[in-house]
């Protein structure tokens, strides 16, 4: 348990210039959560009051943090970038606890345990300043390095370090716990760095050491204190977070096929006995039930999927509530507040948008259902299109239980197909269909004998191209009748036919 006499300062004001994205790295997402929210939530869980130092893109940072409605977060504004020392100084008016915890905002994998260990060591040793270190003997431009000599300790900035990384094998993690009294006395004595002209909080270590204060360090695993300064480090941190999540779900009875390229967000849950295929993405609060199969290359976002359901390969599901024993895909796209009830089947090249599909209903092929309410046990024929947009407004389609929509239907909304009604294949339906009625909206077929051959012959005679290889039965008496493009002929036939 932490003593409550501690408050935190989180540094989030930097320019993130090494990320080279033009934006503040604190808003980059790691497994679906903005980087800055990792320390904020961890501190919130520890009930530590927090001041966030903001500067670059501060409005976006503040909006992001406030969206989670934290209990104990305030903001301090650093007007101009002048280093971590200056950033801490900006929060001085807020200081009231005995100990000030200072941490960089770019360390999303830091755990509460690391903070608790630091606090324990700090208070037990009555240190003026304590900080977290980690073993890492790879040369790096991202971490200050610990240099100890003759009982003195200091942190040397990465770019100024010229020693042997194997001899000085510990890096500064960027987490400090400082007595308020020490901080108040010395924060204004920092000197600007000669190269960067910035004030570095790391210099407090040397100051404390030189003044013979107690300086304490605790060791954390490097992977948990990784900082994120460039795109490579951002990728690595997310990769570690992803691995941890997959390991977690493996331990809860989830089978992964090719685990190394599955992406799972932090707030996703997966039921026992479910199978997650290669390259699946489960995003933003998605909940997968028990004994589901999520096939390869499926993406599911902000959705729930009931027990024993299967999403076939290469489907995209977003913002949907899907029941039990449902089959979706392959190549399905379900989005924008859809509901699919138990035992329904949504097939290939089918899009659902703002649509409810009743239990046992099937829409299996090349269909667009938008703004539709569809009852139980309806059969939607292949190629069905709901015409929900008239150029100005969206309108709803209602299809009642047990209706049968023929293939290649065009349903012009607003429209209602009542219970048990049928529509004939190829129909355009513009009026409501009463219960148990059959609606037909298509032209009657006419066969024009040997016209296909005439078209073919004409094409041969004038254009000398496919399908020239074939000469069918029947004679070629009509070749000279046809001139112009095939299209014109088609029209001519239509005119002849109907006039």
């Amino acid at each position: 348990m932490l003593n409550t006499n501690i408050q935190a300062v989180v540094l989030a004001a930097g320019k993130s210039s090494r990320l080279k994205s033009g934006h503040n790295k604190m808003l980059e997402k790691i497994c679906g959560q903005e980087m800055i929210l990792f320390p904020i939530k961890m501190l919130e869980n520890l009930a530590i009051e927090t001041t966030v130092v903001v500067g670059f893109e501060k409005e976006r940072i503040i909006a992001c943090i406030e969206s989670m409605q934290p209990d104990q977060v305030t903001f301090a504004h650093q007007q101009e970038p002048a280093g971590t020392g200056d950033a801490v100084r900006c929060t001085a008016d807020n200081w009231h606890s005995d100990h000030i915890l200072i941490l960089n905002g770019d360390m999303p994998l830091v755990t509460a345990q690391i903070i608790e260990d630091l606090y324990k060591a700090h208070t037990e040793s009555n240190a003026a300043l304590s900080f977290v270190i980690a073993h890492n003997n790879e040369p790096s431009t991202s971490y200050g390095r610990i240099v100890q000599k003759d009982a003195q300790i200091k942190i040397v900035e990465a770019r100024e370090f010229t020693g042997d990384v194997h001899e000085h094998c510990c890096i500064n993690a960027g987490i400090y716990l400082v007595k308020r009294s020490f901080l108040q006395e010395h924060i204004n004595h920092l000197n600007a760095n000669k190269t960067s002209n910035e004030f570095h909080i790391t210099d407090l270590v040397a100051i404390a050491s030189e003044h013979n204060y107690v300086v304490k360090t605790t060791v954390a695993p490097f992977d948990y204190v990784r900082g994120i300064n460039n795109q490579h480090e951002l990728w690595a941190a997310e990769q570690i977070q992803r691995s941890n999540l997959i390991k977690h779900w493996m331990e809860h009875g989830v089978r992964f096929s090719v685990a190394q390229n599955v992406h799972i967000d932090l707030d996703v849950t997966i039921g026992v006995g479910s199978y997650i295929g290669c390259g699946v993405h489960l995003l933003r609060g998605t909940q997968i039930g028990n004994y589901c199969t999520i096939d390869e290359y499926v993406s599911v976002e902000s959705s729930t999927i009931g027990d024993n359901s299967r999403v076939y390969p290469m489907s995209v599901v977003k913002d949907a509530q899907i029941g039990a024993n449902v089959a979706v895909g392959p190549f399905a796209h379900i989005h924008h507040a859809c509901v699919i009830e138990d035992n329904a089947v949504i097939g290939n090249f089918v899009e659902l948008k703002q649509t409810t599909v009743g239990a046992g209903t099937k829409a299996k092929h090349l269909t667009y259902l938008g703004d539709a309410t569809i009852g139980n046990n309806v059969n939607i024929g292949a190629g069905t299109i709901t015409c929900n947009f008239d150029g100005t407004n969206k309108h709803r389609t209602t299809i009642e239980p047990h209706a049968f929509i023929g293939s290649n239907n065009t349903l012009v909304a607003p429209i209602k197909i009542e219970q048990g009604a049928f529509t004939a294949a190829g129909s355009t339906i513009t009026e409501d269909v009463p219960a148990d009625a059959l609606a037909i909206g298509r032209a009657r077929q006419i066969n024009k004998h040997l016209y296909a051959q005439r078209l073919r012959n004409r094409a041969q005679g004038t254009l000398n191209c496919e399908p020239k290889a074939y000469t069918g039965p029947g004679s070629d008496t009509d070749k000279h009748t046809f001139t112009g493009a095939i299209k014109t002929v088609h029209d001519t036939i239509m005119y002849d036919d109907q006039q």
Copy 2:
């Protein structure tokens, strides 16, 4: 060569509780084959008679094994879980060979060579009991560890091991070869483990050693004797199997783009010079010909693909026979007993189900062909739908060679389009079309002048929304004529038009 005086006991009765899937792990598939079939097939190949001990979900285990119609497999039933020692005891009635090979059913990567090496060492040393060990000095809760002291050898269960893994760096693989006489004498002398209250076959080692029998060990590579107790180990074993398969096909002249995320089942074959793209899945008996290209994110299951064919990205092919020089996809879905002959082209957003497509035939866009028989050199227009289901039965569509199906056609089965016939774009075809005829089943177009503008103006006047930005040519004389929704206007126009 193995002496024939050996029989095997395979342990498959456990609860698989650490997998946490609720099911028996023996039926989890690794590269398409159930785990239990790996040792069964290996023993079958060695012509070793085998008794499988079943318990948890025994009906499913038995059904799985019997589906491969093994020659020499019998089953023994363990009524209640009481440990590996008890499981072996359940098979006592079957013992008749001189040597009993006992192996866990959860080691799918074990090779015949490992068994042969064990047998050779066992018989040459006249051992009472021999078993396979492997070097592994990582702490693990899955493997018993070998402890030797003063010429005595024993296996300490993972959860009871408290020593140094570097000193005791060998684990028990779970493969034992025991003289029948020794087994018969001592199997009933096992004591129940104090913690688990189960009988452990591993205790036979200490018994043999204490009684000064010869105990022999052989060493196998750890990767080949990996046991599978949890989801992580299951993933790792499949990953190794997958790597081995890919390495095998590389050695046979197959090029892999991003080999580390390709999935290949055990019974798949791939021809020389073929290219397998990123993330491809080749499943269940699929056979890929020579010089094929299988592009990224394609899944092929239970299908054959002829030489020089290409499957474009993100296609799903299942249960299909595809000829040579065929092009499929991208975004094609071919399933349920389809046949595609040489030089055919199946394009994007096209589904084929129980359909035969003749040589040189093309169906390139947004098409559903179900229960159809299509001849050579047919052209299927974009948006064609076969209406194969009338709500009660499925019916077939037959399209003869050289027919040309216009775009957006609705073909109401049962139907036959005869040789060389044409159908006009937008037609619903309900009757057979004779050879070389042209079938038309669509309404004639009518243009209502300036009606679009009226609709637009009305929307502007009453609804104030898009496409308000545009004011086209012509005057707005009719604004007040229109009331109600656009839909109603459309209907009105229809009525006006046709009455």
Copy 3:
């Protein structure tokens, strides 16, 4: 800077038998570029005149190199495979510089720096022969190994090496710089290898050493001098090249989600702040703008994408020019010289081929637009199909600005929909539509009351199958009227209806 008195010989004549593809490995692509072009371009950049030795599939090799229009490349023909020594000898007529650089054509990752370092060491030491070595103590069948003894140095072929790889831990990279005078004197003194009966250029090292010429070696990182003899090495080299490219774009401000399975070709560029999702393929000269999002499993080839555009998951884009703020996909397929202007939206299951889409135009669902020119702010309804092919020729569709194409339209090209025109849902449009007109080409709907029930009852009576579970309102008076298949009934209804 290199002295200009150097010329190069690149060996590309081998049979590539270990690749087992049946083809010359020099034409295998690595990140989109043929293997042979890596050394050719590197030498071109160093302004070194080059002779390429060709043999197996020489026409294809020559065509490939000539397609890049190199300045200083000539070819020498090796008639029969007789080893690297013989291959070099084939170029003797071309020798005129003081130093001859000889390198294998199968080392795509070699850098100019390695050549420059070799040249510097060679000339500074006045060596007769210098060559590049690398540390690698894994047993390999692909690399000759350096053996030094008593001031003598030689290269032992991989298959003849029997020593300890840890003692002889350096391999021969296959890059030699030789004084012309030495080469001319000794190239004809090579002995045929006893096993292969071929002449090995590597034997020159022992010859030089035995004759007490100065022999110099320089060391390069193994990864940069990897040779490609089999599919595994080909995969590994491409994997390294891919990693380097991704690292490069990370350093330029591009965010990668699951970087390890992204594929990027050498000539691709990506703008600052863009996000590249899992499994994305960016191929052949593709240019991605700033702040774009390319979602998971998208493939983009030979295309440009403007700033702030997003390609949603599982889309395929090839040979397209896409503007800024455009949304594409998911499941879009854009190919063959398409242009999509700013702010357009191309949705799911939409194919564009040889089509131009104006700014702000939307085509969101299940649509095929081929050979079409579409103006600004057009709305293309769901299910729209352009009928661009009449069996003989392709025709164009023109849709002018602000037109509104109703859902499920069939547009029979050649056709023009003029500015501001509307087409009714379900229409087949065969004639041009004037500006601001409304075109209708569909049949009027008729509702046949209780006919659906009759169909259902008949199916129940005669077939006893679905949808039998439902008995709707209305009486079953008509059961015996219907005989034959549902299809016939439908037809009957049509006849009744329209006669």
